[in-house]
């Protein structure tokens, strides 16, 4: 689905895109071109929706200077997958339920989508989603990160996420005292 080709081929893609106009072409910071379903892009990203509505989409590839090709490929992949997925029956029936949960659980394919990403790719994707105003993708990626933190001790979290402890022993003890109840079953 993604276009990741030399310039000549991209030119061809542009013509095709012009012909049926249901896709838009995006350009990563390192100059790679990707094609994404226009409908899905507009639905999933407030920023892209704004650009499409405002006519600032460039047929030669809309520049997204802040997003690297790896992250953009994931964004595009996500949009295209979203365009093809039919909402599951469970999702439809849950729409009638009254409790407006703050976060919608990711769907099975979304889970798989983020599960295969490395840490680096995941963080890059979070940034890209944030930049593009993709609420749903942000939800799914943040959900994944929180899952990775859940049930881990502070030490384990530091290790997994490469966080350097810059507290002195005394400072640490002070915080623990202050919030003792939360550290109970450590």
């Amino acid at each position: 689905m993604e276009v990741d080709k030399g310039k000549g081929e991209a030119e061809e893609t542009r013509k095709v895109a012009e012909a049926d106009r249901d896709t838009v072409t995006l350009k990563s910071s390192d100059g790679k071109l990707f094609e994404v379903s226009k409908e899905a892009a507009a639905r999933l990203s407030t920023v892209l929706a704004g650009m499409i509505a405002g006519g600032s989409i460039d047929d030669n590839g809309t520049d997204l200077k802040q997003i690297g090709s790896e992250a953009l490929e994931n964004v595009v992949d996500y949009c295209n997958k979203h365009a093809n997925s039919i909402p599951s029956a469970a999702l439809i029936s849950s729409s009638i339920s009254f409790n407006t949960a703050p976060f919608k659980e990711p769907e099975e394919w979304e889970r798989k989508f983020v599960d295969r990403l490395s840490h680096d790719a995941l963080f890059d994707l979070v940034e890209a989603a944030n930049f593009l105003g993709m609420e749903r993708l942000l939800d799914v990626t943040c959900h994944k990160i929180s899952e990775m933190m859940k049930g881990k001790s502070p030490d384990q979290i530091r290790e997994v996420f490469n966080i350097k402890n810059d507290y002195t022993k005394e400072e640490l003890e002070e915080i623990r005292q202050e919030l003792a109840w939360a550290f109970y079953d450590d």
């Binding site: 993604e2 990741d4 390192d30 790679k32 090709s69 790896e70 490929e73 029956a89 439809i92 029936s93 009638i96 009254f98 407006t100 703050p102 976060f103 840490h119 680096d120 963080f123 890059d124 979070v126 940034e127 944030n130 942000l138 943040c142 959900h143 990160i145 929180s146 933190m149 859940k150 049930g151 502070p154 979290i157 530091r158 996420f161 490469n162 966080i163 350097k164 402890n165 810059d166 507290y167 400072e171 640490l172 915080i175 623990r176 202050e178 919030l179 109840w181 939360a182 550290f183 109970y184 079953d185 450590d186």
Partner: protein, 502 residues
């Protein structure tokens, strides 16, 4: 794709065409509001503990957007089974106070306190929580208490704290076992879209005043309010779109506004003067003894716009169906939760449900969740030949979800019928396990064996008849169920429900 991979391999093997690469992004480098979102998804204790990760993280948790305090999240210790009753309210209150004291108050969207034993004696603290909510401009407030002893007075919700500017941020309130005084002041909550009252001593007239003063209310939920006898939405053009009523046992009539789209009702069946705009209807009632009869006789003529219908009831009576030619021309989604378990010999027939295909010719999705008697065996040739109904094609049904399929004869007949006449079905899911919680029924070890029976029958008959490859059967084998408590085999959410009741 292939190319990209190659180029990244290159970076591993040495910088061939290497661009200046920034040191890679770490979790701590993400924008703070994203870290807040992540932290908000952790249980509150774990979120608080992230304060020791590093100085960067010290206050991240303080911007948690959701503050949800409950026995489970604040007090319960893993492993140590502290029963709820022995925990002093003050321990709970202290911890809520501690979190709120640390919290910046910025960006909080929701404050939820779900701890039963709180009441009037704790007003001093609860009042400060309400003040915190007002000061932090939160959007959702939920206080869910339960009156445990008749002698305790419920907490009185301080409507007097709200006035024009302080009330405008709140969009959603839920109050459980709380007393309402000066409820007309709700008018200061000018943006209140959601209101939920649980076990609140409110009279018909007081409720009327309240609803009248909520000018932009879209959702109203009321349950276990024992003084309510009639419910009238304030004026015909009220913006309420979604009404949820449950277990108000003295309620005798409900009169609804015209714009209402969704109605959920649970309790003894009363006349629901439903506006014709209603698109979604969900009824849970133990009064309906046959959902089929109800669907055929009561609904189609009055609710022509219905798109989605959910019924939970006991299917104990076999109905003689006389459809007077009414059809649901808008109905797209039908969900039935039917309990076929009666103490006497079963006289109902699951195959009767087939006629729904004719009443809802444009239906796209059908869910049938059943609870069957686990004493009746699965289909066997001795039970007689399988019946088949006349072929009346249905060209719109796309997804079918059947649960509680124990492989009994009529269940099999219905499934085969759907498979045969619904030519456009893309996906038919058969799960032998009941996957929707039934509060009134218990499962026992026999049910586990029925899951296996259901799987066997589905495999033997349904998969054989599935020429379009659309049927998916959940596999349950004998070794999965032997010596296993059947609740272990079902949806964990249901399990949680059972556990909560204990």
């Amino acid at each position: 794709m292939a190319k990209r991979k190659r180029s990244s391999e290159r970076t591993h093997n040495g910088p061939l065409v290497q661009e200046k690469r920034l040191p890679h992004l770490q979790l701590s480098d993400l924008p703070k509001d994203i870290l807040h979102t992540i932290i908000s998804r952790l249980p509150i204790r774990e979120a608080v503990r992230t304060s020791v990760l590093s100085s960067h993280w010290k206050h991240i948790w303080c911007s948690r957007t959701q503050l949800e305090f409950s026995f489970r999240s604040l007090v319960r210790k893993k492993g140590a089974n502290i029963p709820r009753s022995t925990i002093s309210e003050y321990v709970f209150i202290q911890r809520v106070d501690a979190v709120l004291k640390q919290h910046s108050g910025i960006g909080v969207e929701k404050l939820e306190v779900d701890f039963s034993p709180l009441h009037a004696e704790h007003s001093e603290h609860i009042d400060t929580w309400v003040k915190f909510a007002i000061a932090s401009k939160i959007k959702q407030l939920s206080f869910d208490f339960v009156i445990q002893y008749p002698s305790t007075e419920p907490y009185i919700f301080p409507f007097q704290f709200f006035y024009a500017t302080s009330g405008s941020h709140l969009q959603s309130i839920k109050l459980g076992s709380i007393s309402l005084k000066q409820q007309a002041s709700i008018k200061f909550l000018v943006n209140l879209k959601t209101l939920e009252l649980v076990d609140v001593n409110i009279t018909d007239d007081e409720l009327k005043v309240m609803l009248f003063n909520c000018k932009v209310l879209e959702f109203f939920g009321i349950s276990r309010c024992k003084f309510i006898t009639s419910l009238h939405t304030p004026h015909p053009l009220s913006p309420i779109k979604h009404l949820q009523v449950s277990q108000c046992f003295l309620l005798q009539d409900i009169e609804l506004n015209v714009g209402l789209i969704t109605l959920e009702y649970e309790g003894p069946l009363i006349s629901l003067a439903s506006p014709s705009t209603l698109r979604n209807l969900c009824i849970k009632s133990s009064d309906i003894r046959s959902s089929l009869a109800y669907i055929f006789t009561k609904l189609p003529s009055t609710l022509p716009q219905l798109e989605m219908l959910t019924l939970r009831c006991r299917e104990l009576k076999r109905a003689t169906l006389t459809n007077k030619g009414f059809k649901f021309l808008c109905l797209r989604h039908l969900r039935l939760e039917l309990n076929f378990v009666s103490s006497k010999k079963r006289i109902t027939d699951v195959l009767d449900l087939a006629c729904l295909l004719e009443v809802a010719p444009l239906m796209e999705s059908l869910e049938v969740h059943m609870w069957m008697n686990n004493k009746l065996g699965r289909y066997h040739k001795n039970h007689g030949e399988l019946r088949s109904l006349h072929w009346h094609p249905h060209a719109h049904l796309k997804t079918v979800d059947v649960t509680g399929f124990y492989g009994q004869k009529d269940q099999l007949e219905l499934s085969l019928h759907i498979l045969r006449v619904c030519t456009m079905v893309k996906y038919m899911k058969i799960d032998p396990r009941p996957t929707v919680a039934s509060i009134t029924l218990d499962l026992d070890t026999n049910d586990g064996l029925c899951f296996v029976d259901g799987y066997k029958v589905a495999r033997k008959y349904l998969l054989k008849a599935d020429h379009r490859n659309v049927v998916q059967v959940t596999k349950v084998r004998l070794r999965d169920v032997e010596h296993v408590w059947p609740y272990k085999l079902i949806d964990p959410e249901w399990l949680a429900l059972v556990a909560d009741d204990e």
